[in-house]
Amino acid sequence: MSEYTMTALPALGGYQASFDGVTLQEVTATAIVSIAIPLGGDDAMAKALQDAYGTAIPRAGHTSLANDGATRFLGMSSEQMFAVFDHAGAHALDVIAGNLKDAGYYTLQSDNWVALRISGPRSRDALERICPIDLNSAAFPQGKVARTTMEHLGVIIYPDDTDSFILLSGSSSAGSFLHALETSIHNIL
C-alpha cells in the first residue's frame, strides 16, 4: 500500500493583508489546549502551573504569561483556561499534559480555531463596529481577554501588543469571520 503523509493547512491559507492603518494576518502554527480544573483541584493546578510555567491561574477575563513568555494562559471561566503557544504539529496536548501532569483535564483545540492578528493604529476603529467589548487600552489592556460575539460568531479576543489584538474564532466559519473583518475594515477606510 502507498504511504501517505498528511500535512495540515491553515484555515485561511496563511492570509495576510495590509490596509491604511490596519494589518490583518492569520496566525499559523498556534496550539490551543483547553485546561479544565477538577472540582476542588485549584490548589493542585496552581502548584502545577507555578512549578512548570512560573505563573498563576488566570482569573476569568484575565491572562497570565509563562515566565519564558512562550505560553499564554487565557482565563475563560472560573474553572477553565486555554493555553496558547507556538507549536507546529499535532502533539501540543502532550506538551501541556507532560508539564502539568494530572492537575487538570486537557483537550486539544488547535484545529477548532482560526487565529488572526489585527494590528495598526486604526485596528480599534475597525473592530469597534463589530466588537461589543470596550477595547480602549485603559479598559482592555494587555493581560485581559474576553469571549464575545462578532457578527453572530463566537470570538475570543485579547491584546498582545500596543494596538494589536489576537482574535480566535471557529475554524469551520473562518471564511465568514474573515469576511466580517474585511468588511469592517473597508467601512472605515
Binding site: 476569568a60 471561566s77 461589543p132 469571549r147
Partner: protein, 95 residues
C-alpha cells in the same frame, strides 16, 4: 441592555441567553407528599410582576456562567447581578 457581570464587568445583553424566573432554582422535594401539586406549580405557574423580577441569564457567549439578574420589568433597570452558583449555595445553607 448591559449586564454588569460579577467577574467580567459590563457586557452586552446579546452575549446572554434568557431562561426565566429564578424561582426555577428552587426545585420541589420529589419525596414530599404533595410533590405532584408542587411540581405542577413549579412547572406551570409564574408570577408576572410589574417591577422587580429575579431571573436567570446564561452567559453563553462569554464564560458560560449562570447569573441571577434582578431587573425592573417596567424600566429594565438592573439593580443586582449575582452568580447563580453563589445564590444556590446560599439557598442550600438556609435549608
Amino acid at each position: 441592555m448591559i449586564i454588569n457581570h460579577p467577574h467580567l464587568g459590563p457586557r452586552d445583553a446579546q452575549e446572554f441567553v434568557y431562561l426565566g424566573d429564578a424561582s426555577l432554582m428552587d426545585r420541589p422535594d420529589w419525596q414530599d407528599e404533595n410533590a405532584a401539586d408542587n411540581f405542577h406549580d413549579y412547572l406551570y405557574l409564574r408570577d408576572n410582576p410589574d417591577g422587580e423580577h429575579r431571573e436567570l441569564w446564561y452567559h453563553e457567549q462569554g464564560d458560560r456562567s449562570w447569573l441571577v439578574v434582578t431587573r425592573n420589568t417596567l424600566t429594565h433597570e438592573i439593580t443586582r447581578v449575582e452568580l447563580a452558583r453563589d445564590v444556590a449555595i446560599a439557598m442550600r445553607r438556609r435549608k
